[in-house]
């Protein structure tokens, strides 16, 4: 009996592969959201496990806010080529130019503008399902997400009216114009993701490891110095040894001071961490309901 036992990562892995294959089996035109971040790196490996030796039966989709870390985009492009996968990129800038995404007066951040850009891409390619790397342990509103999260024809999530999900039987049926978001990593924690990266020897972008970078102190955190919002004269700028723990836009991703140079170092660091990974993202701090509001509007 004891030979027929899976450890926790193997359990999470087989659950996620099952979910991916349900997507391939049930949908006509699925896409896999790939940002180059650690969660979507795991998604890609799981897709390989689910579908090889065939080609991945879905393209990769990325919404480029124009405020990405350059290291991340390089990595994203390289991985897609390595996998022989089709990569579709839709830019917030183009969506703004076309009037699909309209910034509020004085709005510099691109986080909200990702939503109409993504919805337009879904419509353009008639995607009926998008696989994303969100995890329930990230945030309170996410904790209530299903694996198969139904979106109406406006891309909206209705938390009060979710389909019950029982055993591993996913109801993937949708009507034309409706859409499904699928989250194979629902049950993974930040630690599981890094342990999986370690076990599978997956490459991650270099910004996850400690490096020297000029940072500016804003709203209680160290943000990378960029041309987008250059430091004001009264702002403190320092060169620090930092890394990112979770990646958002370059203007809102807090850098953490860390000596972690390897995946092993990162795992040790997370084990001792005293703040959650989203604690370093300015976009979530705005209000306690920030994530919930964005999700209802169609955010991942």
């Amino acid at each position: 009996m004891s030979n027929y036992h899976l450890d926790h990562l193997q359990h999470l892995e087989t659950e996620a592969i099952h979910v991916m294959r349900e997507v391939a089996g049930e949908f006509e035109r699925p896409a896999l959201l790939f940002s180059g971040g650690k969660d979507s790196i795991c998604l890609l490996r799981l897709a390989e496990k689910a579908f090889r030796p065939s080609d991945l039966p879905m393209p990769l989709l990325n919404v480029d806010t124009g405020h990405h870390f350059p290291e991340l985009n390089d990595f994203r492009d390289r991985r897609a080529v390595q996998l022989g996968a089709k990569l579709i990129i839709r830019k917030v800038e183009d969506a703004i130019a076309k009037g699909i995404a309209v910034p509020a007066t004085g709005e510099v951040g691109r986080n909200k503008l990702q939503i109409p850009t993504l919805l337009a891409a879904i419509e353009e390619f008639r995607f009926d399902c998008c696989i994303g790397g969100a995890r329930r342990d990230e945030e309170k509103a996410r904790a209530k997400e299903r694996f198969f999260s139904f979106r109406d024809s406006f891309g909206q999530w209705d938390p009060k009216n979710q389909r019950p999900e029982i055993w591993n039987l996913y109801n993937a049926r949708i009507n034309p114009g409706e859409n499904m978001r699928v989250f194979p990593l629902s049950n993974w924690t930040e630690m599981d993701v890094w342990e999986y990266i370690q076990r599978e020897k997956l490459e991650v972008p270099t910004i996850y490891f400690s490096h020297r970078r000029k940072c500016v102190r804003r709203v209680g955190q160290w943000l990378p110095v960029t041309d987008i919002i250059p430091p004001k004269p009264n702002e403190e700028v320092r060169e620090l040894v930092v890394r990112v723990r979770t990646i958002g836009d370059i203007i809102s991703t807090g850098m953490i001071e860390s000596p972690a140079k390897s995946v092993e170092d990162i795992i040790t660091e997370i084990a001792a961490a005293r703040v959650t990974e989203r604690g370093s993202r300015a976009d979530d701090k705005t209000s306690e309901a920030a994530m919930e509001d964005r999700k209802k509007a169609g955010y991942f």
Binding site: I17, S54, K140, P164, W167, M191, A272
Partner: protein, 443 residues
């Protein structure tokens, strides 16, 4: 979210999934908050957020329930309206908590949260004792065949830590237990608010020999929930690389799925249903290389030595412990939709990776939640009702009884048109099994 102890990097051997249930205000959210808080699974920013909302709304008192009551609507109404999942780890185990709400109208959420659980915690308010909700939730846990149950008798601080009261409630509970299918039940007196017997033993209960709730969760023996007796591979996806430049890949044809029962080895004979053809396993393909053997619940790709007709929804089975195959099925269902079950109406039935049309031909009985007795021939099954029905499917289903195999014995019903998931079903053991005597097993 992970434990802050340095042990957290040690290999964790397994995962325990559990859910909490009880009536509104029995203290579920407080208990989960307490488990996370006392096991040091909370991070500083989460504690900070708690303190911030304590200053705004709670008159300065930290409310542990705020940790799990995530959605704004809930905060406004002060109730938990959906299933929320929480994660924590101790050096011994990883835990997935499904926080399932106690309102009558949300029974469907409890079924959702509990369906995959190894263990259920039923919370009882020590002042109120066993009430209809406690019975209902225990009945659902039994119906779903959750192997372990903990009855956490909460708010013991409000009954003066009375052992007599604890024993009285325990006796009330044990009175209806024999009617149910639960083998392992543990009673623990706690105060979720103050933390007694949750993580730390209480000095108020010298009469309780232990364990605390957390140490029980860490040590309860979760004997394999998975059935290793009859091989079942519901085919999810046919893997055909169709690669003209690589001759090996050009001919590759694999059947991908998650093993839903049993063990499979290279060289073993299998039957593919509904085609009914026999074949032999040539290769068990995984990204990490071919393997000689695989078992439930691994995800694999099987290569067979004959080219036979298999597509999504087919089931590949072993020659031992054969499943049933029939268009007439008997099942227990939990109804999950405001529109009641209608006899004669067509639904989609999803079973493993298979989707067929189905008609409910008979509603045999409905369980009266107050008495747990079946009432014969009800006119309908409404939201949150549990009952037994007969179904006829458009094509034969290859299945096992739910008691034998949770994965091949369960199904959902989907309403046509709205695509709403309307029922969770558990199949009764088959009357007729697949007949292996002749070379052809067509069903």
């Amino acid at each position: 979210m992970v434990s802050a102890t340095p042990f957290a990097t040690h290999p964790v051997v397994d995962i325990l999934r559990f859910n909490t249930c009880g009536s509104v205000d029995d203290g579920k959210s407080t208990l989960i908050g307490r488990l996370l808080y006392d096991s040091k699974s909370l991070m500083e920013d989460q504690i900070e957020a708690l303190e911030r909302s304590a200053d705004i709304t709670g008159g300065g008192q930290i409310n542990l329930a705020n940790l799990t009551d995530g959605l704004r609507a809930e905060r406004e109404q002060g109730i938990t309206i959906d299933v929320a999942y929480r994660y924590f780890a101790t050096p011994r185990r990883k835990f997935i908590i499904a926080d399932t709400p106690g309102h009558v109208q949300y029974t469907r959420n409890m079924v959702t949260g509990a369906s995959a659980a190894n263990l259920s915690i039923v919370l009882v308010d020590a002042r109120a004792g066993i009430i209809e909700q406690s019975r209902r939730h225990t009945c659902i846990a039994s119906l779903l065949r959750i192997p372990h149950l903990v009855v956490a008798i909460n708010k013991m601080d409000l009954v003066g830590w009375s052992e007599a009261r604890f024993q009285e409630i325990r006796a009330q509970f044990e009175e209806f237990l024999p009617r149910l299918d639960i083998k392992d039940v543990k009673f623990i007196p706690i105060s979720a608010l103050n933390g007694d017997n949750v993580v730390e033993p209480s000095k108020h209960t010298p009469w309780h020999p232990g364990p605390t709730l957390l140490s029980h969760l860490e040590t309860v023996h979760i004997a394999s929930d998975w059935n290793l007796n009859g091989f079942r591979l519901p085919v999810q996806w046919v893997n055909r690389p169709n690669c003209p430049t690589n001759s090996r890949l050009h001919d590759f044809r694999g059947f991908s799925g998650q093993i839903a029962g049993g063990i499979i080895r290279v060289g073993q004979k299998v039957i593919a249903l509904p085609a009914g053809m026999t074949s032999t396993v040539k290769e068990i393909w995984t990204l990490d290389g071919s393997v000689q053997e695989a078992f439930c619940p691994q995800s694999i790709t099987l290569v067979l030595d004959h080219d036979i007709d298999i597509s999504r929804g087919s089931m590949i089975i072993g020659l031992d412990n054969l499943p049933g195959a029939n268009v007439n099925l008997q099942a227990k269902v939990c109804w999950m939709h405001p529109r009641p079950l209608q006899r004669g109406k067509k639904y989609w039935l999803k079973h493993t990776s298979n989707m067929v049309q189905a008609v409910v031909t008979e509603i045999e009985h409905r369980i009266d939640m107050a008495t747990l007795e079946p009432q014969a021939a009800p006119s309908e099954l409404a939201l949150n009702d549990i009952g037994e029905i007969q179904i006829r499917t458009a094509k034969p289903l290859v299945y096992d009884g739910y008691a034998t195999n949770r994965l091949t014995g369960s199904f959902i019903l989907i309403e046509q048109g709205t695509n709403a998931t309307v029922a969770a079903g558990m199949l009764m053991p088959p009357h007729e099994i697949v007949k292996p005597e002749n070379g052809d097993y067509v069903i």
